[in-house]
Symmetry: C2
Subunit: 294 residues, 2 copies
């Protein structure tokens, strides 16, 4: 398996699926639809849907049952980016090297485009549920329920992150923010794939542990990149966290301390997922999260 | 039947149900939860859940199946109010005679509280679906799917309303805004009650027509109140629409023209719903929408 090629394949699958949900008919809300498409198709790693698809693929050969839920994941991820970037929250001008939604369009459009993408994820899920075979419903309804709870955690994490900006916080609160803001949703992405693929309780448990580790690794790596990344590669300014007095793993444990934790939890994740057949991609993905430069 | 008393009873039922979903545990996002509760419990007519409950009651004697969906309706209604009031959209300082969410808390909190209430509605629905008997699922999944589409219409209507503020618009576009921004959700409230109560196709169709009429009546009455209402009673400034160059039924058809249309469609709604046994409350509700002073 060539990891980079597999990753690209996955990204292409996700992008072509997302494109299907972009609305292009003539209607008075054309610009709103354009602004949703702008953010949805602006690039990004597609990490969440890829985690769902790759986990599902540990057990199944098709993507049939998981695809609508993977699309919904990416829609909600983009909803959260649009709202987090708003002047009233993080006030960011750039995302993926392009103007943020409210900079490209305007604030009202960005608020409503975020709302539209959050609700759009539930349109996709409700269509799928309505047309599902009844024997598939218990797993799908479990996944739908966990989805709403993961979004709830993401919103709570973003709130606490915003609220404590520039204030000194405890290690517990730092962990709370990471666990909720980013971790809950990454964990859910993996669980979704496993549950929809009819994995056993133990398998789901082990994959959840893998997901928790890479979720935390993802956040720690973000903190490291915000400190020492390359602005041109990242597509956003470096050193902002420090400037804004943000509490991060780097500010708490130092640059080397953060890197040591990152190494440890990445290795743990790889050990866990090694137990599964055909898990090379998920092993490499853990390394990719650790080694990425954007 | 004393209408005012029945209305009060319904409001009390809805308020006590909503109260159950207010989170009060100690957690880092306490203030976010407070801000969701602030808007959710700030008052308001509870028109949407009441429409759902009263329609359901045409056919059934309990509220069991409809209650979680009625609660979800009110949560989404409050999400839309919080976001519409934001500085980036309508920039309103007061709602139900109290400071709007972003005035009481701050903008970041208001954005995230709105997000939390929108997602909160889906938490409630997903919990209910997960615990449902399988024979109830087809109707409930139909209702869930229509819910997401009604929210989509509401967001689109709000977008177009905001985008065309201060511009001259066609009658078609004015109708589009009313139909989508307010109408779709009121129509859905009635349909939800009918579908969950196992009403027949024809019954659902007739009740949908009733709902379309009172939805339009609601909007026209809003336009009339914005022109000649009592600020102290309304809890918000009067004359704002004209000042901001908003296109309304009053600006399009004149005050008397708007009142004539309101009379006509209210009478039509009453004629339709009269065909159902025990529909006195829904008949009176149409008159209440026409005659209300806030």
């Amino acid at each position: 398996m060539d990891f980079k090629e597999s990753l690209k394949d996955y990204q292409n699958i996700v992008n072509s699926q997302l494109q299907k949900y972009v609305r292009k008919e003539e209607c008075p809300e054309n610009v709103l639809n354009d602004s949703m498409e702008y953010s949805l198709m602006a690039g990004g790693k597609r990490l969440r849907p890829i985690l769902a698809l790759a986990t599902y693929k540990l057990f199944k050969n098709d993507y049939e049952k998981v695809m609508p839920y993977a699309v919904a994941l990416e829609m909600v991820h983009n909803f959260s980016l649009i709202h987090d970037d708003l002047p009233g929250i993080d006030n960011d001008d750039f995302r993926h090297g392009k103007p943020t939604n409210h900079k490209k369009f305007n604030e009202a459009t960005a608020i409503l485009a975020g709302d539209g993408l959050l609700n759009g994820a539930f349109i996709v899920i409700s269509e799928d549920l309505k047309n599902s075979d009844s024997q598939d419903l218990p797993n799908k309804l479990q996944v739908f329920n966990e989805f709403t709870n993961a979004i709830d955690r993401m919103i709570a994490g973003e709130y606490v992150d915003t609220e404590y900006e520039g204030k000194t916080i405890t290690n517990e609160l730092l962990e709370y923010i990471h666990k909720n803001k980013t971790g809950a949703f990454l964990k859910y992405s993996v669980r979704m794939g496993a549950i929809l693929a009819d994995a056993s309780e133990t398998e789901i448990e082990n994959l959840t542990k893998y997901a928790e580790n890479i979720g935390l690794a993802f956040q720690i790596k973000d903190d490291i990149l915000s400190e020492e990344g390359d602005e041109a590669v990242l597509g956003k300014p470096v050193g902002n966290d420090k400037e804004m007095g943000k509490c991060t793993y780097v500010s708490k444990y130092g640059l080397q301390g953060a890197k040591d934790i990152l190494d440890k939890i990445t290795n743990e994740a790889i050990e866990i997922v090694k137990e599964f057949d055909n898990s090379e991609f998920l092993q490499e993905l853990a390394l990719y999260i650790k080694n990425r430069n954007k």
